[in-house]
Symmetry: C2
Subunit: 535 residues, 2 copies
């Protein structure tokens, strides 16, 4: 199999592109300020950035902040280091300064104390590393772009960090079917440019695309901005290569759209957050690049009108609807106050961003105009603006995408990522405002309305145990009552592993534990994550 | 949870609709002749039909035709029957005549000798039945519409047949999100009408829709005619309720589009052909019903031109392309000769059916006209016809959909369902014609080109061991060389379980066996299927 290099021309883009923001022309310095140094995806070290921000306070050790006990894994010895050095000469990192960033999650809430970072380039190397770790009972923390929201990508104690950063080669691309096969460490945005140049797009897009790795996206079953249109990775991922806990390479790297020969083993690893195996290569189906993209930004007088606007868009835009995002007025205030973004429409209780992607600019504009006329005339929408040119499209998207950034300027942020029946989506926000009263600075709701996915954020001047106690388990219990999900797209990782039971019955949790025991009997893969601690 | 009855008004349609054909006005008697009696989905018995066709020769017992040994399961005793009768009073069938049809697969190639058919109505009843069978070590054959192509839905020996036919209630439908929740025994076509009346369509459609059950569709990961547009059931199924081998009910019947709380357990059961658990309820996302459907039927001078036409359609039709099917000239001869269907275009080596589904009839027609002009003018297509009205759309679809029926009139049929890289799709047919020479009557290729899925069929005057030896493993080895799949959408069932290794490496087969042992340690669920016999 011939390895094709990902075109280097794209690299400059990401060099200046911090983790959680698109590459807008405006506000770059703000982005750098809050996110720390941009990650360098081409230099020898995977982990730089956050911890080297001068003046940043040291992040508290996870083991000190949370009640978690180290499991009886071995400790990395000089012999282990020598063995790793034989497998990946020159790519065994033990320098504390270089290790620092890889030990801290990007939200700077968790910190491990790993003493070694391994940077394999091939699945065979990953296999040899895991074979050694399995034999020696060494715990392993797989790490992609380290952009996760729930602490799944950093060690909790001294786990060996296995980075996919150097596994960044495109293996093949088929320009009729749109099938991309690549190593797990390819950065999503690099892949995005690669396939765009060939007339396709990646079936997923998310704010972290400048840093996140496709392997990490698959391991966490990332959702993001194109989910409404192109669906889940469970449908678009065609194949995976995975290294199992004992070093066995499981080759399910099929490029076929259809394959009903037995159990679909790759599904086990999608969304398992590195706890069942380490994904080393991905085969994924890319949709054709749309010829035309239009965005409308609308103000709605109430949430009922948001829902009716969604229904109208689904009906009238049909197959060209590619995003339906919403944000409340407090979100708009925050992006204005902290990022100086301007509200392009008149002040409203709610705002909606509608995106269409289609194969005919004329047809799409006509459809969108028709639906806008309808929602404006019927009072569902009080004001709106529409964009077809790239610059304005990006400006409108920035209002929605930079909410996370604005929140981080507002103080300490308690973050929840909830799935709910769409008609109850905002009730939780309203209810929580009453429940918290003046203890919270802001309680805001925004998210992927089209997917029933609410991002609920609560800010306060500083971390407060009292506020946390008021929030949890209240938010989880409320969600469970609606048969919602306490983690729509972020996964469980370290932070949410103990709230699993709010969304899964005991029978399911037990089966998860049995699968873990089957695939990783020693429990060395990403321990302390995803599965609740067993009694 | 309120159970809503599926509207009875649809029943008449299916009464007269045999298993493998849409309800066309023409040729019903032909359909009845080759398919046996239509299945009665509303009368008390699930299994009638094929075996009661007067004059049909008795199907040879599977155990006599194939080298298969009965595993040491218990035999159903009078006490077992009494226990079943206590669980589902009046729904324990032991009458040999009534059992006959459920013992035979619809292709009339396999016959088991089960002595009992159970017809539960609820998951709780399924749970109690399995708890009993597990304790007693009784093997169980789950059966939906019994329309499978690989013998997965009939017993091999005397397994207890557990039919989902009476589990046919819609549980809920959400008319904003399009989420349907229903019991596993709902017939696909009944569901299709149910959601169509509410402005949606099912995300899958297949020839067997008049008989097949949604639970069986999910258990076999059915592909079919809408796969190109709406993707795999792995993306559209939102939740499942499953009864495990020991009777435990696993409730993953979520209606959420996004849920990243731990391993996605439902994926284990999608496509596992009833060997890991029995699906009792399904939650599935239905797309909005398209406002306009157009079909074009085209003649192409060669397979290279078929591929280029596909590329042009993908590029110019984009999001409205909903099917791209192909058939060769021998298929057209057979539907003409045996079913008297008329070729609507001039004779060509290949024919293509292109379907669009969209939200604006005008826009869609314009797009389709543009692409047709292009392919006609560039010589990719030599002749074509287009249909927008329902009757002509159905007539054009009949040419493609009734090929299976035409083949069955041509003699004994050897059937293969292969996934291949799209550019090699037809090479196998050409190669096989040379390889078989005059031993075969016809070697034909057709299928879902848009999904890389070839239906390869070889006919002969009668079954011939010599021909079979020439075909197998030749076809499988050829497919394996291209990294294709030896079962694109039909599954493995009983007939193909031993060719699994042509598409899956030993590590994957071993992991499949470990999963089976974990979930069904006694191996009572659909034994002799899917997994190769262990050495």
């Amino acid at each position: 199999m011939v390895l094709h290099l990902v075109p280097r021309c794209s690299a400059r883009l990401f060099w200046a592109s911090p983790g959680w923001r698109r590459t807008y022309t405006q506000g770059t310095s703000v982005g750098l300020k809050w996110l720390g140094c941009p990650r360098d995806i081409y230099r020898p070290l995977a982990c730089r950035g956050n911890s080297s921000v001068s003046g940043s306070p040291e992040v508290m050790l996870t083991a000190e902040r949370y009640p978690v006990q180290r499991l009886p894994f071995s400790t990395v010895s000089e012999e282990d280091l020598a063995a790793f050095e034989r497998i990946i000469p020159g790519r065994v990192i033990t320098d504390p300064e270089q290790l620092a960033a890889c030990n801290v999650d990007w939200l700077r809430a968790l910190r491990g104390c790993s003493k070694v970072l391994l940077r394999p380039q091939t699945s065979e190397e990953v296999s040899q590393i895991l074979r050694h770790c399995h034999k020696r009972n060494l715990a392993v923390n797989p790490q992609g772009g380290n952009t996760g929201m729930v602490g799944g990508s950093v060690p909790v104690f001294d786990e060996v960090i296995l980075s996919t950063a150097l596994m960044n080669q495109v293996i093949s691309f088929h320009d009729v079917s749109g099938t991309l096969v690549c190593q797990a460490g390819c950065v999503l945005e690099v892949l995005s440019h690669y396939v765009q140049e060939r007339g396709f797009i990646m079936p997923l897009d998310l704010g972290a695309k400048g840093s996140c790795h496709i392997g990490g996206n698959v391991a966490t079953n990332a959702g993001g901005l194109r989910f409404l249109r192109y669906g889940s990775l469970r449908g678009t991922v065609l194949g995976l290569e995975v290294v199992l806990a004992d070093g066995t390479i499981l080759d399910c790297l099929s490029s076929l759209r259809k394959d009903n020969t037995g159990y679909d083993l790759k599904q086990l690893f999608i969304g398992s957050e590195g706890t069942l195996g380490i994904i080393t290569a991905v085969s994924i189906l890319c949709p054709p690049r749309p010829q035309a993209v239009n965005v409308a930004f609308l103000g709605c007088p109430g949430f009922a009108e948001v829902l009716q606007t969604f229904r109208a868009c689904k009906g009238m835009l049909g197959e060209i609807l590619s995003a339906f995002e919403f944000m409340d007025s407090e979100c708009m205030q925050l992006v204005g106050q902290h990022l100086h973004l301007t509200n392009p429409v008149q002040e409203s209780p709610f705002y909606v961003l509608v995106e269409t992607s289609g194969s005919s600019a004329g047809h799409d504009a006509e459809k969108l105009t028709n639906v806008l006329e309808k929602v404006l005339n019927s009072g569902l929408v009080s004001d709106g603006t529409m964009a077809t040119d790239q610059r304005k499209v990006q400006m409108l998207w920035a209002l929605r995408e930079r909410i996370t950034e604005a929140l981080s300027h507002d103080g300490y942020v308690f973050k929840y990522d909830i799935s709910l029946p769409v008609e109850r989506l905002y009730d939780l926000v309203i209810d929580l405002r009453t429940h918290l009263g003046p203890r919270a600075k802001h309680v805001v709701g925004y998210g992927h309305l089209g997917d029933g996915n609410l991002h609920l954020n609560v800010t306060a001047e500083a971390f407060s145990q009292e506020l946390l106690t008021a929030l949890e388990p209240y938010v989880y219990a409320w969600t469970a009552e609606q048969r919602g999900s306490v983690s729509a797209e972020h996964g469980l990782g370290f932070k949410k592993k103990n709230v699993l039971s709010y969304s899964k019955p005991p029978v399911a949790v037990k089966l998860m534990q049995e699968l873990k025991a089957l695939l990783d009997p020693k429990g060395i893969l990403n321990p302390y994550k995803t599965l609740p601690a067993q009694a």
